[in-house]
């Protein structure tokens, strides 16, 4: 392995052996994230074997991903909350009240109060705006009480969990509200709520280019200050694997096809002509909820690692006193973490309401548990100061792969809950054990 000449002696963790350890160290891959990817792969492989190869099909994996998307989106924000030594138990109720708000805005307020026609193409934008605003406001209120008044976050968000869920009842007198908006529905995924073949390939290409650019730029940044850079072979490997992965996911998503019945119906409505020999075979591509999740993950990771806001959240979590003494406005930082949560809940609520094309009393119930589990499985510690946003998203996928896999195999919910609980304990226990050993 060649290293740039001025690699400082005793550089942490770089044993120059040709082993997996050495490989990982040279490529500087996060061991934990890598381990979680391996675990996810193992779970999917196991279910595939148990089901005789029926499990790991494009359509099924898309179902799994869409089911995980809402929890994953919220978990990106929960990482910041837990890192800064707080908690948010109100996310489930927040999702519920915002979902019901979406339903009421689209079925009642827009036609009756605002006078917006049902065929106005941007109804979904207005509804989404309402939801995000509501989420941000409730988040700001909770954040204010926690950061400026000083009431412990457990209490404030527990109160939020109870009172906000009560409000949902008053919104619709307990009834389900359905029939939202055909454009809004697309946010929930499904064949029509997906990017389609061409755009999926384009997105994959953009992703590949972005990965290569990031590698080149990172190398350039290091060179600028004469820092040690990764060996060239490692850069090529990462770039190559990254691109392959992105293109592979795109190919996999494009292997999922529209149900022929739907294709025929739309063909008839849109006048595409007769059904071709062998069927329409229209690729669905990546569903919109996953695109949303991708965007959220990128933005949140960027905020956490490359912006002062993220730095301050982690500093506060590591040593609140140090953050204060460094002159950081810690209260404003904490408040912002809750505003972010509110906005993320609004996005997750949009996915949930779109999937159901309506809202019920119980949307979002128990979300907080799954979100916290995802964050924790993904490496976020309740001691504060340590957390990973990509890890939380992976954690959400790991937990959902179990739930979906067990559902697929016909294991009922009590069984699913038993497994979920055990996995949570094992994952966190394994992580704690590793940390103890390492330090």
């Amino acid at each position: 392995m060649t290293n740039v000449a001025d690699a400082a002696p005793g550089q942490a963790g770089a044993p120059k052996r040709t082993s997996v350890r050495g490989l990982l160290a040279a490529t500087e891959i996060d061991l934990r994230l890598f381990g979680m990817l391996v675990a996810l792969g193992a779970i999917l492989l196991t279910f595939n074997i148990l089901s005789g190869g029926k499990f790991f099909q494009p359509t099924n994996m898309i179902t799994l991903a869409v089911q995980a998307s809402g929890i994953a989106i919220i978990s990106t924000g929960m990482v910041l909350v837990i890192v800064s030594r707080n908690i948010d138990l109100s996310v489930g109720s927040l999702v519920g009240v915002i979902a019901m708000t979406y339903a009421l805005v689209m079925t009642d307020w827009m036609p009756n109060v605002l006078g917006i026609a049902p065929d106005f193409p941007f109804r979904w934008v207005i509804a989404l705006g309402f939801g995000v605003l509501l989420g941000a406001m409730i988040g700001a209120l909770q954040g204010f009480i926690i950061a400026y008044v000083g009431v412990p976050s457990f209490i404030v968000t527990l109160g939020g969990l109870l009172s906000i869920r009560g409000v949902v009842w008053y919104q619709s007198n307990g009834a389900a509200v359905v029939g939202l908006d055909p454009n809004f529905q697309l946010i929930g995924g499904g064949a029509q709520g997906s990017l389609g073949g061409t755009i999926t390939w384009l997105l994959a290409l953009v992703g590949c280019v972005a990965i290569i650019w990031l590698i080149i730029n990172g190398r350039r940044q290091r060179r600028r200050f004469d820092f040690p850079v990764r060996p060239m072979w490692a850069e090529v490997l990462i770039g190559g694997v990254g691109c392959l992965a992105v293109l592979g996911v795109a190919a996999f998503a494009n292997a999922a096809l529209w149900p022929e019945g739907l294709a025929n119906r739309i063909a008839f409505e849109q006048g595409w002509g007769p059904t071709p020999e062998g069927g329409w075979n229209i690729p669905t591509g990546i569903p919109l909820p996953i695109v949303l999740l991708l965007g959220v993950t990128l933005v949140m990771t960027w905020m956490a690692t490359r912006r002062r806001f993220g730095r301050y959240v982690f500093a506060y979590g590591g040593n609140p006193d140090a953050a204060e003494l460094a002159g950081i406005n810690t209260r404003w930082t904490i408040l912002k973490t809750y505003v972010v949560m509110g906005i993320l809940c609004a996005l997750a609520a949009a996915i949930a309401a779109a999937r159901l094309n309506g809202a019920t009393l119980d949307i979002g119930v128990s979300y907080e548990l799954y979100v916290i589990a995802a964050a924790v499985v993904g490496g976020t510690s309740f001691a504060g100061g340590i957390g990973s946003i990509p890890g939380a998203v992976l954690g959400a996928f790991v937990m959902q792969s179990l739930a979906y896999g067990l559902s697929f195999m016909g294991v009922n919910s009590p069984g699913q809950n038993v497994v979920a609980g055990i996995v949570l304990i094992v994952a966190v226990g394994f992580d704690t054990f590793n940390r103890r050993r390492g330090s």
């Binding site: 400082a8 002696p9 005793g10 550089q11 942490a12 940044q221 290091r222 600028r224 200050f225 820092f227 690692t305 490359r306 912006r307 002062r308 730095r311 982690f314 500093a315 979590g317 590591g318 040593n319 006193d321 140090a322 953050a323 204060e324 003494l325 460094a326 002159g327 950081i328 100061g385 340590i386 330090s439």
Partner: protein
């Protein structure tokens, strides 16, 4: 040693701080000249750290005035203190364990790119320069400071205080965690800073350090200043007497001395 005429660099007049039923700082007046080291000593709970926290912005005084270069200032928070070029090395170091050395050095004062994002590379480069002068063996710039030794952590805290053009420094037990070699290094650094005209408040339990470095010594006892004297005019025993008994040298009786020896 440069003798400054005119207004002192820092003057704290009639400072009072009380919390939780404890009157931690009682009507304390203290000053510091440029290029001077004032040793601030006293027993546990004497009020030294609290007094310095007023100056560093960590804790507001209940009453009293702070003047810098003869002008009254209001130091309401750590940001204000840094604005007046007051840098502090806290006894606890006040480092965020989960963040690396550059991150800690620039905590709250991060360098940003044109877009407002963190410029980690630039901060790392500057940290390498600063740490290179202080501790040439330090190489761990990417790991969280939690994995550093006590001496290395101290070096980061010192580097942080030194890097930002301080005129006034507060050092609270700067050699507490250090071995002899590192302690000598810190002592050299302190002398060097003094040469540059920086005024330093030095809190230390180590009488030898205090006598070695200070120009004047202020002794606190139960929140009050016992006396502020020129180092040259007292002995370590005199100072010990002030610390333990709260009495000036000429007020100490033979019985008191005996009591100290028995306790010692």
């Amino acid at each position: 040693m440069t003798v400054e005429t005119g207004a002192p660099l820092v003057e704290m007049r009639n400072i009072n701080v009380a919390f939780g039923g404890v009157h931690a700082v009682q009507d304390v007046t203290i000053d510091l000249r440029a290029g001077e080291i004032v040793g601030l000593v006293g027993g546990n709970g004497a009020g030294k750290s609290t007094l310095m926290r007023v100056l560093s912005g960590a804790h507001p005084a209940d009453s009293g005035k702070t003047l810098i270069d003869g002008k009254a200032v209001n130091i309401a928070n750590p940001r204000d203190a840094k604005h007046y070029n007051i840098e502090t090395i806290y006894q606890t170091l006040a480092l965020a364990d989960n963040i690396d050395a550059p991150g800690n050095l620039f905590l709250g004062r991060e360098k940003t790119t044109r877009l407002g994002s963190l410029d980690d590379s630039k901060m790392e480069a500057e940290t390498r320069k600063v740490m290179g002068r202080l501790n040439p063996n330090f190489t761990n710039f990417k790991m969280p400071v939690k994995s550093l030794s006590g001496g290395q952590r101290q070096a980061v805290a010192i580097a942080r205080a030194v890097h930002f053009n301080a005129r006034i420094m507060i050092m609270d037990e700067p050699t507490a965690a250090l071995g002899p070699a590192e302690t000598a290094q810190v002592r050299n650094l302190v002398r060097q800073l003094k040469e540059e005209g920086i005024g330093i408040f030095l809190i230390s339990h180590d009488i030898h350090d205090v006598f070695d470095l200070s120009d004047r010594i202020s002794v606190m006892y139960h929140g009050k200043i016992v006396d502020t004297i020129e180092k040259a005019s007292v002995t370590p025993d005199d100072v010990l007497g002030m610390i333990i008994l709260g009495l000036k040298p000429d007020e100490v009786t033979e019985t008191d001395k005996a009591a100290i020896e028995l306790r010692g």
